[in-house]
Symmetry: C2
Subunit: 369 residues, 2 copies
Amino acid sequence: MSTATAAEQAQSLTPAAIRAAHELIKPYIHLTPLLTCATLDKIASTPQTASALVGTPFEGQAPATPHLRFHFKCENLQRIGAFKARGAHHALLRLIEERGEEEVKKRGVITHSSGNHAQALALAASTLNIPAFIVMPKISTPSKIAGTRSHGAEVVFSGSTSIEREAVVAEIQSKTNAILIPPYDDFNIICGQGTTALELEAQYTEKSTKSLDAVITPVGGGGLNAGVATYFSDKTTRVFGAEPSFQGGDDCRRGLGEGKRVEKVSTLTIADGLRTPVGVLNWEVISDKRKVEGVFSVSEEQIKAAMKLVVERMKVVVEPSAVVGLAVCLFDEDFRRRVQEQGGEEGWDVGIVFSGGNTTVEAIGKLFS
Amino acid sequence: MSTATAAEQAQSLTPAAIRAAHELIKPYIHLTPLLTCATLDKIASTPQTASALVGTPFEGQAPATPHLRFHFKCENLQRIGAFKARGAHHALLRLIEERGEEEVKKRGVITHSSGNHAQALALAASTLNIPAFIVMPKISTPSKIAGTRSHGAEVVFSGSTSIEREAVVAEIQSKTNAILIPPYDDFNIICGQGTTALELEAQYTEKSTKSLDAVITPVGGGGLNAGVATYFSDKTTRVFGAEPSFQGGDDCRRGLGEGKRVEKVSTLTIADGLRTPVGVLNWEVISDKRKVEGVFSVSEEQIKAAMKLVVERMKVVVEPSAVVGLAVCLFDEDFRRRVQEQGGEEGWDVGIVFSGGNTTVEAIGKLFS
């Protein structure tokens, strides 16, 4: 983090910053496809059953009749299987611009992550020929450790809590002077993730004369949602966020209700990429009503139902975190009423970001056994 | 079947017949994507370990060093999730051409299938506004029954053996005079399935100046492989087939060794689309060495390993039957030596047909639990 406050940094998060990020990272990332699926549109445009609304505030009311057409931005097909490749490349390229290649090469970079950011930074560092140290909890899944190592990064193990992880990071930094690349709460990371929105819009407008009505993305640390909201901040497209509700995983939604960022989260939701609280800088963006219209949450069962539909109907592999936005569109009656009321007969074209596809056949088996 | 013998009918199976089929069905089917995957190319181009060859005729020998580049024709993304949509539409369109719409509408069509052909014919009949009767074993998975019904076909249940199924077909035919559309052993079905090859070649040559070195497809009843071999019969591209070896599921490979079609198969291989013996007309094509260079077989474990790679690395959902061709390329040392010897340093560009993607998250769970 630079010395500018989060509020000051948020001022610099502009569509132009996202466009500049895209120019920089374009040669290093995949232009992932934007897919449609008539079957999912049909399911989403069918009213929920009365029984699905039992136990919700909408019990006994007529189910909403929204018309939804989805445009799936498949970041599960991005390099390393997740949008995180965007932010990691952008942060590292900017670091090299700012400090010079020689210094960054000498010091190396470091991060702590058990998930997709670890592999993303390992890939970016390997491509740009920079040494990378990745601090991972000892209990990380072997495939993720192997994946990170396969890009040539040095994996250092730590305990699972953030205090233990940060202690190991500090220890390595004291020896190597390696520069920290944070996973989500960072200006350059946000700009990188926001390039997802730029591509999504360009791919959509290739086939349409109007603008997208809405875009919905998962919210974990919030880098993706903040970046996407930044890109659309001077456009008519509405931006929404989606979170898992399990064990308080919907920290962002709750924080918005209370008018204050929730700082700690401890959830074991199956959407394991969304277990972290929203970062400080990301909160500045997401809590700005002009940028993000609302954040919705879904249950574990709703996440599983959405994942089952994507795997079985679209034949595309997604991780649970990737489908929380789709789950909102399918199952959140509040959201569906909004589409009905604001979209009317014409309905909405909704961009949905499938954030990642890093799962295993064994993990799918456990989820659905 | 017409009164022409299989050998006579095989004479009429020409690339021109496939092209004509494509013209006819094009408006009704998806042009499925042709995908590549650098990770799978790398894995396939890495020699197997010495221990992988233990217990095979290649034990103790140096593993082959083939160079393989794959081009995956994703018929798992075809309508109803499988290439069967091609043959069913073609057979029905030709039937209407030959008998007139009025007669076909009055009599309706009928088939027996527990799998993809049932849904494919149901879809084609619904599109063309023809009544369809689908005889399915009582024990078929509920999702397949529901899928078939969702296209408006009338599902009639039978026992599981072919004798029981055919008895029910005969009974319905005696009442309705419905016309049988067989699942694979039929001239028009073969021409329809062969259109997969036409598209595959066209999509490949958009990006390449040379011809595909080889194409490999699954062999169950043999309609897909016979159609693909027919299309490439006047070209340099080699055609291969792939089968599951479990419980004698490799009837085609064994038949080729014995110089005689194997007429009965009873296997419960996980590649459930490939449990049938090769049909009579398909055998005429596949046993012609000028058309199909060879048929290879793979174990259940090899099928699962290939499926795991496709799901986890390509993030694409395939059913077990779909990956037997890939499994041959990855694990059959005989095939890999052939690539090494004939492809040399340059290696082979291989078209692989992913035949279908109709599985469920629960089925994936059972396979990998």
